[in-house]
């Protein structure tokens, strides 16, 4: 384990930014935080988390896939893929780090998505242990320890210092470039920090939320639960929950005619949208209830069924904070499944 005084944090950032684009959470004018590219003078945010999850780094909201030129009856295809630039995402919380595992299982399963893989191969994740979890946090429900985040390098911040521990070859290589700015240390301070965080975790209102009653094989039991009507009743059908979610990965592929060619791009899509499953001759999910149910069944039943029981939720709490009508996965889990009546 290596440590560095927080006073020297900008030197650390400068050293990282010398070799790779560095992204870290920065406070914005509206009071929330977002990942921004670091440059001299950028101030690292103290916010617990960003409004948008860092899934953008690997699966951006819009991404051009290829271009076409058409002339008469001919079509020419231009492969516009290029090697991604090396980049470092700094300060990713434990929940968001876990979301990359969940996305990996979708995008890196054969046939692997080369666009995602390209970014994934060139990105280094420096995670950061939480210091101040809030009432909307429930990562523990999904077995995530906010005091011991994964990632290529794990980091802990105390009042005075920042501690780093490399977990992967990529992480070791990056930490090596910081060896002049950091010094070897024991994990005493980190252990103390972990204990502090875990004490706070015990006070969180959602600490007892359980995944009991969910998981693969529960389709028949949960699909026709009468509670879906009530739960989805107020849903506006917007895409807020989907777009702030670190694990939602549905996308649409569209063509944009620029007037001198066609760009085929993909963009995030939401199963909450009424046209998500709409075909030329019909729609298999006509009501908002069906669409609402799809989102939660996917996270809590279908995904775990296909992925060894891993749930497609990391308990980051973004949807709790952002849903315009305050309907969210926690309320769903408390109404149906094993938390009923608790």
């Amino acid at each position: 384990m290596r440590k560095c005084s927080l006073e020297k944090i900008n030197e650390i950032f400068a050293a990282i930014a010398k070799n790779a684009a560095l992204y870290l959470p920065v406070d914005r004018t509206d009071g929330s935080a977002a990942y921004k590219k670091w440059e001299e003078g950028t101030v690292w945010s103290n916010a617990l988390n960003t409004v948008r999850s860092p899934k953008d780094f690997f699966f951006p909201q819009t991404e051009d896939l290829m271009r076409f030129k058409t002339k008469g009856k001919t079509v020419q295809l231009e492969d516009i893929r290029t090697e991604a630039e090396a980049f470092v995402v700094f300060g990713v919380r434990a929940c968001d780090v876990k979301s990359f595992d969940i996305l990996d299982r979708v995008f890196l399963t054969e046939p692997a998505d080369s666009f995602y893989a390209n970014r994934r191969n060139h990105g280094v994740i420096v995670s950061l242990a939480c210091t101040r979890p809030v009432e909307t946090c429930f990562c523990k429900t999904f077995g995530i320890d906010p005091s011991a985040p994964a990632g290529d390098i794990s980091a802990w911040k105390t009042e005075s210092d920042i501690f780093f521990e490399a977990n992967t070859e990529k992480g070791k290589a990056l930490l090596h470039t910081l060896s002049e700015l950091t010094e070897e240390c024991d994990d005493g301070a980190v252990a103390e920090q972990k204990a502090k965080i875990n004490a706070v975790m015990e006070k969180l209102p959602l600490k007892d939320l359980s995944t009991k009653g969910f998981g693969g094989g529960k389709t028949a039991e949960l699909f026709d639960a009468p509670e879906w009507d009530e739960l989805s009743s107020a849903c506006l059908g917007c895409g807020t929950c989907t777009f702030v979610c670190p694990t939602c990965q549905c996308y649409d592929i569209k063509d944009f005619n620029t007037g001198n060619g066609v760009i085929r791009f993909r963009c995030w899509d939401s199963c909450m949208y009424s046209d998500f499953t709409k075909m030329a001759h019909g729609n298999n999910r006509l009501t908002q209830k069906e669409r609402f149910r799809q989102r939660f069944m996917h996270k809590l039943v279908y995904y775990p069924e296909n992925n060894d029981g891993l749930f497609s939720c990391v308990g980051c709490g973004r949807c709790l904070a952002k849903c315009p009508i305050s309907m969210n996965i926690v309320k769903v889990m408390k109404k149906i499944g094993g938390n009923k009546g608790e």
Binding site: T62, V244, Y273, P324
Partner: protein, 332 residues
């Protein structure tokens, strides 16, 4: 603290349910925390007792729900309307978006609703509880030992600071006392932007709109956005898009959305309330309202049922678009 209490509202709703006036109640449902409230349908006194809340975080405007919920309800639907909600209610009636006969509207007074992000900015994150105590909110958090007392007026939502009216323009029954139309300062921020140079304004909006994630929450929450199929969802419209692919698409969406509700927007402020990225979308709507007021005379959408919106109306003496700017220059 709100002048009307949860108990009074439950009593009223239970009474109307039991005497058969209404079959369902559209009200605020209890959330996980003291501040997250979900619009909920209640159909019995027992359900109300267990799940109904009314506090300083009941900002949601129920008018739009009437479009879908009133049509489905068996009997009449009871809806609680704050003064600002009644304007949307009337506007939707003007546009024939729901059946008035299926709705029983109860006007309730409102002292302004709080914005949880403002509360958190003062108390810090990790809210454990929030309780109203007179003109204050008493907040306990996971991190502070002592409760924190915050004056409610310091954490009012932007739209409530600039409340345009405490008067109900529609109801079947009114609870509490009727208020007045207020002389609000709601156009001050628009005027401040107007006074900037074009470059400054451009930079301002570039910063704000660049945060848009095109979640459509503003559109889907807006009581004026009730098109069956939005142009932005229609592949044949030529402007369909699903993502803010670039700065142009961001602007296109927000200009057209604001434009489409211009003259019909009652300035209820839901768009800004629901925006996950805190974009001050209400300023676009207020700009249209301010312009319309100045160009064509004062007009408040939803004030009267069946009034004709200014952009679907004209006089032969209207000013020319070019004169708009000449006028502006004279003012400056």
């Amino acid at each position: 603290m709100q002048k009307i209490t949860r108990e009074q509202l439950i009593a009223k709703a239970s009474e109307l349910l039991s005497n058969g006036t209404v079959s369902q109640v559209l009200g605020w449902g209890k959330g996980e925390f003291d501040y997250d409230v979900t619009p909920t349908l209640f159909s019995s006194a027992e359900e109300l007792e267990n799940g109904f809340v009314f506090n300083d975080f009941c900002g949601a405007n129920f008018s739009k729900y009437l479009v879908s919920k009133a049509a489905k309800a068996d009997g009449k639907l009871l809806v609680f309307l704050k003064p600002c909600d009644t304007y949307s209610f009337n506007q939707l009636l003007t546009e024939h978006r729901f059946d008035r006969e299926k709705v029983y509207a109860v006007g309730i007074p409102c002292e302004g609703m709080a914005d949880i992000s403002k509360v958190k900015a003062i108390s810090g994150d990790g809210i454990a509880s929030i309780n109203a105590d007179g003109d204050n909110l008493v907040v306990t958090t996971l991190y502070e030992d002592a409760p924190i007392t915050i004056a409610t007026k310091d954490v009012l939502a932007e739209r409530c600071i600039n409340c345009k009216s405490k008067k109900h323009v529609a109801y079947d029954e009114l609870m509490g006392e009727e208020g007045e139309v207020l002389a609000s300062n709601r156009f001050d921020e628009v005027a401040r932007l107007e006074a900037m140079t074009a470059d400054e304004r451009f930079a301002f909006w570039q910063n704000e709109l660049s945060r848009c994630i095109r979640c459509n929450a503003c559109r889907d929450a807006c009581p004026a956005c009730t098109c069956e199929k939005c142009v932005f969802d229609n592949p044949n419209s030529g402007v369909e898009n699903k993502s803010p692919a670039n700065e142009f698409e961001e602007k296109l969406f927000h200009i057209i959305r604001a434009y489409h509700v211009a003259g019909r927007c009652t300035d209820c402020g839901e768009c800004s309330r629901v925006c996950p990225q805190n974009i001050p979308l209400h300023l676009l709507n207020r700009k249209f309202i301010k312009d319309i007021n100045e160009f064509y005379g004062e007009y408040q959408a939803g004030e009267e049922v069946d009034s004709r919106a200014p952009l679907v109306n004209y006089t032969t003496e209207d000013l020319e678009p070019g004169e708009v700017f000449d006028r502006g220059d004279n003012n400056a």
